[in-house]
């Protein structure tokens, strides 16, 4: 029996923000200056409240998670399952359409659910710095939140696709309206890039629908096509002669490649990454945080949940290339981040954006290794990159809000002016470098350890990323925080004292930054807290993939 929970917790955690949106819509924006300020406060705290409840729900899930269940291709191994028919229609020519509202999580999605709530919670504080049409912003923010959560809990491909597309709309507006000077360009680029990926995904999804059929529960003896992602992992459900029926056929390889590109754009893997630096540079801080913290993980999650297990033999065919692409992303991203150091107007955010490309490359080589250590490390790296990069972007946001510039050359010696901030920044930067004792180290080491057994050469090249990473991160740290404070920042940030009372980070920013720092350090010391969630699922996953892929041995 699927493991249900007395209370539809996944529906709540997913759709709570929509409820928040409705409440938000009912609060008037205010007519005069005073009431507008008051309602802005409501909007902000409402968003914080909703995100907080989500976080609590995620912790309830975490506390009730059964570590013995694996999930992956076993419908009874999923937890907190909610399943009923959503759309059922008989259409001429096509036959019956069956779409299920099917939610559930296993060890691969559980860490992502946790990550999403953590990042959305802290980013809701970061959103306080948005001053323009707060109501619309918060509504979009909440919608985005629902869409992201939905992606991680959906077990029906159609439902997944709906959430996936739903994510684009708020993201487009959040960048396009609340973004920086080149926001339109960045928003459209983001939209088109991701949309191209979605089109690929849609085509494959329709093909898959006609390939699989399961017994129709309402019509005994009859079969029906399905979008059920778990059912797609059982070869017994394949309709003979259908489009993706013959394992190893070219059409399956093409379908895998299409699906892979769709997800790779989101990760992003070089060469599908150029939307990322623009989107990050133009997006408001909180949206950069969400983008790097959660959105990018959707790509690698999609690979693990959909592309790899549905087309395992195609993964075996492309495995070496995928690992190589991961390696290229690591080096390429790191070099581009390094390249920012010689640019006249060096932008801190762009550097961190490129570092994301590099860090997501670790996830790729980890999951491409198909070793338990590598995949566990890869998923853990998704989690850690989420928290660490979120912290990095918030930190950039803090000085950007004050100085209205992110140029590395505009700063220096901030350590004297903002000691607490500098301490937090040092933690974030060293976490990003992968210093032992912090979470990033564990995931990087496990990724390398796994990957080294399957693709030693790729791993050795990828390892150079840790040297380059130290170089670009530390040069930036040195430039901004140490040395001498430039003349123009000698005084207080805000002479009127209205926006910023002291020089150092304020309470709201601390509320956002400190939890992340705590998560990063605690998971560096006790990684088992998250690793244990996925151990069983990953082992099961590897068992499932084993007949089709490379595991260990010297090649590539």
């Amino acid at each position: 029996m699927p493991q249900t929970f007395g209370f539809p917790i996944l529906t709540w955690i997913t759709f709570l923000p929509i409820l928040g949106m409705i409440i938000l819509a009912l609060i008037p924006a205010g007519k005069d200056e005073l009431s507008r300020d008051a309602s802005k406060k409501y909007f902000r705290w409402l968003t914080v409240g909703i995100s907080f409840v989500q976080l609590v729900l995620a912790l309830v899930i975490f506390g009730n998670f059964d570590y013995n269940l694996a999930g992956i291709n076993d419908p009874n191994g999923f937890q907190f399952v909610e399943k009923f028919t959503w759309i059922k229609a008989n259409l001429p020519m096509v036959g019956s359409i069956n779409i299920e509202y099917y939610l559930g999580i296993d060890g691969i999605s559980a860490p992502m659910v946790l990550l999403t709530t953590i990042v959305c919670f802290v980013a809701s504080f970061t959103s306080f710095s948005v001053k323009k049409s707060v109501k619309g912003y918060m509504a979009m923010y909440l919608l985005l939140n629902t869409a992201m959560m939905g992606c991680f809990v959906a077990l029906d491909f159609f439902l997944f696709y709906v959430f996936w597309e739903l994510m684009l709309i708020p993201m487009y507006f959040l960048i396009g309206i609340w973004g920086g000077p080149r926001k339109e360009y960045a928003a459209i680029k983001f939209f088109i890039y991701t949309f191209v990926g979605s089109v690929f995904m849609l085509l494959v999804m329709v093909g898959l629908y006609f390939t699989y059929q399961i017994p129709d529960p309402s019509n005994p003896g009859m079969m029906m096509h399905t979008f059920n992602l778990v059912a797609m992992l059982d070869p017994a459900n394949i309709v003979p002669g259908s489009i993706f029926a013959s394992i190893g056929s070219d059409i399956r390889l093409i379908a895998f490649a299409a699906l892979f590109i769709g997800f790779a754009i989101k990760v992003p893997i070089v060469p599908f990454h150029t939307w990322l630096p623009d989107a990050h540079v133009e997006a408001p801080t909180a949206i950069s945080v969400i983008l790097a913290g959660v959105l990018l993980k959707m790509g690698t999650y999609g690979m693990l949940r959909i592309a790899f297990p549905i087309f395992p033999e195609a993964l075996g065919y492309f495995q070496c290339w995928i690992s190589t692409l991961g390696m290229i992303s690591i080096i390429y991203g790191a070099l581009c981040a390094l390249g920012q150091h010689k640019v006249g107007k060096r932008d801190l955010k762009k550097m961190i954006a490129y570092s994301s490309v590099s860090h997501m490359g670790y996830v790729m080589i980890g999951i491409a290794s198909m070793r338990p250590e590598g995949i566990t490390g890869g998923i853990f790296q998704m989690f850690n990159h989420g928290t660490i990069t979120a912290m990095l972007f918030m930190i950039v946001g803090v000085i950007y809000d004050r100085a209205h510039t992110r140029g590395l050359d505009d700063f220096g010696g901030l350590a004297n002016k903002m000691p607490i901030y500098t301490g937090l920044m040092t933690i974030a930067f060293f976490a990003a470098i992968g210093l032992p004792g912090m979470s990033g180290f564990i995931s990087e080491t496990m990724v390398f350890l796994g990957s080294f057994q399957t693709y030693p050469l790729n791993t050795m090249l990828s390892g150079l990323g840790i040297i380059l990473g130290a170089a670009y991160m530390l040069w930036a740290l040195q430039k901004v925080f140490f040395g001498k404070l430039p003349e123009k920042w000698q005084g207080p940030w805000d002479p009127t004292g209205k926006l910023y009372k002291g020089d150092d980070v304020n309470a709201i920013e601390l509320t956002a930054l400190v939890p992340l720092a705590v998560v990063i350090i605690v998971l560096g010391i006790c990684p088992s807290l998250v690793l244990d969630l996925m151990t069983n699922s990953v082992n099961h996953f590897v068992e499932f993939m084993k007949p089709f892929v490379m595991i260990g041995g010297i090649n590539c």
Partner: protein
């Protein structure tokens, strides 16, 4: 009893957390200082009591004390666990013992600094990390410490982050910190790869299991490619942390930090991690004769190069820094020659005398109001007699004057290198030892003797306070007599069967490695007359160096050195500019990489190439739409024409095909 080892790293960790989080509120230097010193002091006492217990009744094998499971995935399990054996106890005692003295010294040295608490919290963190490095029972925990000490080194080099620092392409102390960390990362890369290779070869990362497996199957592993690969990768790690060529460039610039940091991290403890790593895995290295040769050659070249640069430097701390690099080269030469004990013994004596030299240098700089240029000193003997006296003892020790500590350890290295690798490596090391004696006495004469070349605008030089001089005196005592722990057989055989205590103590650790080495090398015996003769030669060389230094620098006009500089200007410039190694790295590695990344990869490939294709597609679509739009002209005649053309076309296709 050995369970107490849990508390050894825990104490400094608590000290770090307490001081780091609350130090700002405490503000009282006495309280902060006593907490900082206390944690390290108690850790030393614990280690010493364990050591005492240990030598009374040595356990059969290393005692493993597990703390908790760090990373567990299925059957892959990495524990945080500590290993108590001869090697970890010895290193632990050096770290906490010398560390404690340097902590005490720092109370005086850092007095009045606005970040006093931060300094002590970093120092405690460093001790914690260093203890993890040496007490670990597996590679990953050592790596935790390895990177952790790198972090502390980074934080402490850049401790005075708003202070300028002179160096090749370095402007701030933070730049020097970056250089140290990034250079070390190259070494860390080697460590990581070595660790992965160990894992795929032995299926475990625990030292005891790895060394056991390697020595059990030594016939098949000896000289194999995998052993060479593993050890070369680890040695790359060692060249980073222990500042050997080609990665030695960071250590001299690390002197940007406070002087007690230089003493603790960049002389006595952290930089010897590389020696520890090789000693800990002596079996693996013994199984890779090619790597041993590389270790020997790198050690010798580094010892010689650094000593030669030390001859001409004028910055007090720089001279000591190059001296450290050179002495570390001696240690690696010993390891490369297979004399593991000699290398570890030199780590110990070096911790005493080099720690002392740096602390004394700190006292001098303190007394001279932050002057570091030895050309602007002179005649300090009468102002700071205690510092002078301790400095003198350390100088004797490092120069290898008989019966001071450095004499025993250095001579054992020279002898082992000769016995195993012949006369040439011995000669290069002996000349390096001559250089050492010369530059140390040059320092001594320029700083303490001769006329006073400083101006007293900041006030007269003064002797350091007691918190600083007491550690100096204790270290001076150890530098003078510490060597008697390792009396070579040839000198002490009249008194006892095996007079070399350190040898006896460490022999179980290196038993396997020595077995491997002896089974593959013809065991040649040398006469004790030869050993004594070589000893005499090296002592004479040292005395010659001292004599020359005295002759050159007791002359207030420095006639002879000035003449040398004029006559051999090329060599002098080369030494003064440190063989232009920094410039070479910046030009060949750093700039090339930065220019490639920026000018090609980012600006052309990324922005013009990939983005060009993306934007080009968009532009192409627009352009096409622009043409296609014209068809929709709104003129009915055009539509009719097009429609007719279409019908004709379809009919043609229908009829003819």
């Amino acid at each position: 009893m050995y369970d107490l080892v849990k508390f050894v790293p825990l104490l400094p960790l608590l000290g770090f957390l307490f001081l780091g989080l609350l130090g700002n509120k405490i503000k009282n230097e006495k309280i902060i200082g006593s907490i900082g010193c206390g944690t390290v002091g108690i850790a030393f006492v614990l280690l010493f009591s364990m050591f005492w217990n240990f030598i009374q009744a040595p356990p059969e094998s290393a005692v493993i004390v597990p703390i908790y499971n760090w990373i567990t995935i299925d059957d892959f399990n990495i524990q945080i666990a500590y290993q108590v054996d001869q090697l970890s106890l010895l290193f632990g005692m050096i770290i906490t013992g010398v560390g404690f003295l340097i902590h005490v010294y720092s109370i005086g040295y850092m007095h009045g600094d606005r970040s006093f608490f931060r300094f002590f919290s970093y120092l405690n963190l460093f001790i914690f990390m260093m203890l993890n490095l040496v007490l670990a029972n597996n590679f990953l925990v050592t790596f935790l410490g390895w990177e952790g000490v790198g972090l502390c080194s980074y934080l402490l080099i850049g401790f005075w982050y708003d202070k300028k620092f002179q160096g090749t392409r370095l402007t701030w102390t933070g730049d020097a910190a970056n250089k140290a960390f990034i250079t070390n990362r190259v070494g860390d890369y080697g460590f990581l790869i070595g660790m992965f290779l160990v894992f795929i070869t032995f299926g475990t990362l625990e030292y005891t299991s790895v060394n056991q497996a390697a020595s059990n199957a030594y016939m098949s592993y000896y000289g194999s490619g995998i052993m060479t690969a593993i050890t070369i990768m680890f040695f790359l790690g060692c060249t980073g942390k222990s500042a050997q060529l080609p990665l030695a460039i960071w250590l001299p610039d690390a002197m940007a930090g406070p002087t007690s940091v230089s003493a603790l991290i960049h002389a006595a403890t952290m930089v010897t991690s590389g020696i520890f790593l090789i000693a800990r895995n002596s079996v693996l290295f013994a199984l890779a004769p090619d790597t041993m040769t590389v270790v020997l050659v790198v050690g010798i070249i580094t010892a010689f190069t650094a000593a030669s640069v030390g001859l001409v430097q004028n910055d007090l701390k720089k001279v000591l820094a190059y001296s450290t690099v050179s002495q570390l080269g001696f240690m690696f030469a010993a390891l490369g020659a297979g004399a593991f004990t000699a290398g570890v013994f030199h780590v110990m004596t070096h911790a005493f005398f080099k720690g002392l030299l740096f602390l004394a240098a700190g006292a001098i700089i303190h007394g001279m109001h932050d002057e570091q240029n030895i050309k602007k000193m002179g005649g300090l003997k009468s102002y700071m007699p205690k510092t002078y006296f301790t400095f003198l003892i350390a100088t004797f020790a490092i120069s290898g004057i008989p019966f001071f500590s450095g004499f025993f350890s250095k001579d054992e290295i020279l002898w082992s290198v000769y016995a195993n690798n012949g006369i040439l490596p011995w000669a290069i090391l002996a000349i390096s030892a001559l250089f050492t004696a010369f530059y140390m006495f040059r320092l001594l004469y320029l700083v303490f003797f001769g006329k006073e070349r400083f101006n007293c605008e900041h006030g007269k030089p003064h002797e350091a306070p007691a918190t600083m001089t007491i550690p100096l005196i204790i270290l001076a005592f150890l530098s003078a007599f510490g060597g008697f722990l390792g009396i070579p057989d040839v000198l002490g055989s009249w008194a006892s069967e095996s007079p070399n205590l350190i040898h006896n103590y460490l022999s179980p650790i290196f038993a396997d490695a020595n077995r491997v080495l002896h089974s593959h090398a013809g065991h040649s015996s040398h006469s004790s007359i030869l050993e004594l003769g070589l000893m005499l030669v090296s002592v004479l060389l040292a005395v010659f160096g001292i004599y020359k230094a005295k002759q050159y620098y007791s002359d207030p006009a420095w006639t002879s050195p000035r003449k040398l500089v004029r006559n051999y200007n090329g060599i002098y410039r080369m030494l003064l500019s440190k063989y232009k190694l920094d410039e070479f790295y910046f030009a060949v590695v750093v700039d090339t990489l930065l220019n490639f990344s920026k000018n090609f990869l980012w600006k052309i490939f990324d922005v013009k190439g990939i983005d060009g294709v993306v934007n080009g597609t968009a532009k192409g679509t627009l352009a096409f739409a622009d043409v296609a739009r014209k068809i929709q002209s709104g003129i009915v005649q055009n539509y009719a024409l097009l429609m007719t053309a279409g019908i004709v076309a379809i009919l043609c296709i229908y009829i003819f095909i």
